[in-house]
């Protein structure tokens, strides 16, 4: 069979292909990743998760900069993990188009250790530290150096139905007993909180450990400790999971599942972040008047609870081409006025203490006193660059909480956490 005469249509296809290839080659240099400098004003790219009204804050700071720099908001995906992946990928590739990074509190140590963010020194450092709450500040520190400026923070509260429970329980045991009593009376009784195998479970564990006075990881972040306090925390966790007060989906619930379940009326208690308050007002207005808040339950009747700090920090990328301007921009973006604005508009609790005293905060944050009280005592999650590793192994070993055997789990966790810190072994 001779194939010397090719079917005509293939020839035109090939030339079409060549044309496409040429077009690609010509267009490639025109592609831009992120905004580039125009004229003389340096452009600072802010990579941050989506925040309502953030653009207003950015505009304010751009005006204040008066031509020294121009901040551009590059929005990252909604989910924290996706945000981290985006940033990590580019930092690992030494991308210089990122200047300011919005980091979750648990990533700061990791990024600092990987040498991806710049240290705050001198005047920048003192300006940031001045007036900022101690808890968030600790999360921005690595090896005694400040690597990020705390932007907003977050702590969980106890939300409860005051029509079912006139006085809030002070401790976990009290809460479980109150719940069981309601169960016996046939009323909504469940204690709703996050129990899926993810970061939220580690936050719950951390809350209990801190309230019990235990330590998971040593101060320098290099050794797994897992002392008696952690065993106590595991005991409380197990009791909670097996007492019959959780809802059926407890081990598959994340924040929003819990909020929705509570709004549907199934629970008497909810342990969740303050965002549920405004959602409750708009989604379930008949239920809202019956819901109020209190401090997170403690373990010991005499010792107030200590809870995990959430929130985010702003850092300057190591590969930024305009670090000096970036530091200035960061200081502006998270100053007291902007923190107040975002606190009221976007529901982000501020990290600067003086903002809480502002009268305008009272309406948006009726719970601000409880938040402030908890923030004063708050406990960060284990401060180690390998936090993601630690979190993954802890979540895996604590799931499901009903299978915890306090002594044995503590011993197993000690080994796994040490391996995670040393970056040995395999993550589940």
């Amino acid at each position: 069979m001779a194939h010397s005469d090719r079917p005509p249509h293939r020839r035109t296809t090939r030339s079409r292909l060549l044309a496409a290839g040429a077009a690609i080659a010509l267009l490639a240099p025109l592609a831009a990743c992120g905004s580039d400098d125009e004229g003389g004003t340096p452009t600072l790219n802010l990579y941050q998760f989506p925040v309502q009204d953030m653009q207003t804050v950015i505009d304010t700071c751009n005006q204040a900069a008066a031509g020294r720099y121009r901040i551009v908001y590059q929005v990252l995906p909604r989910a924290a993990d996706d945000q981290r992946v985006q940033m990590v990928r580019r930092l690992a590739a030494e991308d210089d188009s990122m200047d300011i990074l919005g980091l979750d509190v648990t990533w700061t140590q990791e990024f600092a250790s990987a040498n991806w963010i710049r240290e705050f020194t001198g005047a920048d450092k003192s300006e940031v530290e001045n007036g900022t709450l101690a808890g968030p500040l600790a999360s921005a520190t690595y090896n005694d150096k400040l690597y990020a400026a705390p932007n907003n923070t977050n702590v969980q509260l106890l939300w409860y139905r005051k029509d079912l429970v006139p006085t809030p329980p002070r401790t976990w045991d009290e809460m479980i007993e109150a719940s069981l009593r309601l169960k016996g009376e046939g009323k909504p009784y469940q204690v709703l909180t996050m129990g899926a195998q993810y970061e939220g479970l580690v936050v719950l564990f951390n809350n209990l450990v801190a309230s019990a006075g235990g330590t998971v990881v040593s101060e320098d972040g290099k050794t797994a400790v897992m002392d008696a306090g952690t065993v106590k925390a595991l005991e409380v966790m197990k009791r909670f999971a097996t007492a019959g007060v959780t809802n059926a989906s407890f081990t598959n619930s994340i924040e929003d599942d819990v909020r929705l379940a509570f709004q549907n009326g199934g629970g008497a208690f909810q342990l969740n972040w303050p965002y549920v308050y405004s959602a409750l007002q708009s989604d379930a207005p008949e239920l809202a008047p019956n819901v109020t808040w209190a401090r997170y339950p403690s373990i010991d009747p005499g010792t107030p609870s200590r809870v995990t700090i959430g929130g985010s920090n702003l850092a300057v990328s190591r590969y930024s081409r305009h670090p000096a301007e970036a530091f200035d921009a960061v200081k502006c973006l998270r100053n007291a006025a902007n923190q107040k604005f975002l606190a009221i508009k976007a529901g982000q609790p501020p990290t600067i203490e003086s903002v809480y005293a502002d009268p305008e905060m009272a309406q948006a944050y009726p719970m601000k006193q409880e938040i402030l009280d908890e923030l004063k005592d708050a406990a960060p999650r284990p401060l180690t660059p390998a936090y993601q590793n630690v979190s993954t192994v802890v979540a895996a070993q604590l799931s499901p909480p009903s299978a915890i055997d306090p002594q044995r789990t503590a011993a197993e966790l000690k080994t796994s956490i040490q391996e995670a810190i040393d970056s040995k072994g395999v993550l589940p």
Partner: protein, 272 residues
């Protein structure tokens, strides 16, 4: 007529199993945030808010345009290149044929999560990052193995001697190819086109890693940028509405092509 009834029942079963979960998504898209999780299949309160929200900014529309353009171009090029390669593999003999087939399967098998970071690096350095070609090239690459295999499988079944027979009957090479071979190749080509299009349309991993602005962000990635009222709230209603909207092009594409998959067996040309 009992035969029609039998087929009608079978059809109904298929449609129900295929579409009930889809209708659930549609129902979610019409629910208000308050009733989102009341567990009812049919919304108690209907609202068009979710659809209005996604079209409020041109972010979503821009993503739709990107998706349509990138998917169509990738599909077209992948099918063309795949057809050429499959034709060669199934009809011609040349050294390296087995190697090509093996290597293309290899490429399809490697976990894409590991390939994304090096690819990101390359694209950043060559300036392809966040551009249409930057997505089109990987899409073609990962669609080609499936395209080559599918098309080869179908090309092998074609009785190529018919081409010769047609020429002996007086047709030119071009006519012989067009009237005799092309209709028999059609099922394979259109099947491949549908599968490649759906792959490009729904891909998330490459799209989120190799784009960063609306310039080339596609729809699945745009979904991950939708925001709820706060950091913890998923905008489920808006996402469901967007999912419904982006399934429509697929439906159109498939409706258009599905007839042609079976239209291959025309009268006269094929005699077993």
């Amino acid at each position: 007529m009992p035969a029609k009834l039998k087929w009608g029942v079978l059809d109904a079963i298929v449609v129900v199993f295929a579409l009930v979960p889809v209708l659930w998504i549609v129902s979610l898209s019409f629910k208000t945030t308050a009733t989102l999780t009341d567990g009812n299949f049919i919304p108690r309160e209907w609202t068009l808010d979710n659809y209005r929200t996604i079209f409020q900014t041109d972010q979503f529309v821009r993503a739709l345009i990107n998706s349509i353009g990138i998917a169509l171009i990738s599909t077209f090029i992948a099918v063309v290149l795949g057809t050429m390669a499959a034709y060669a593999i199934s009809r011609l003999d040349f050294p390296g044929k087995g190697l090509l087939v093996g290597v293309s399967l290899l490429i399809a098998m490697f976990p894409q999560v590991s390939l994304v970071s090096p690819l990101f690096d390359i694209e950043r350095r060559t300036g392809l990052f966040d551009t249409w070609p930057g997505l089109i090239l990987p899409y073609i690459t990962f669609a080609l193995p499936l395209a080559i295999y599918t098309l080869s499988a179908f090309f092998k079944q074609i009785p190529w001697d018919l081409e010769k027979a047609a020429k002996m009957d007086g047709a030119t090479q071009g006519e012989a190819f067009r009237k005799v071979i092309a209709p028999l190749a059609a099922p394979g080509v259109f099947t491949t086109a549908i599968l490649v299009f759906i792959f490009c349309w729904n891909d998330f991993l490459f799209a989120i890693s190799l784009t960063s602005t609306e310039q080339s962000r596609t729809v699945p990635v745009a979904l991950s940028f939708f925001t709820g009222a706060s950091q913890f709230e998923d905008p489920t209603g808006a996402i469901s509405a967007a999912a419904v909207v982006i399934t429509i092009p697929i439906i159109i594409f498939v409706l258009f092509f599905q007839k042609r998959i079976v239209a291959g067996l025309t009268s006269g040309a094929v005699k077993g």
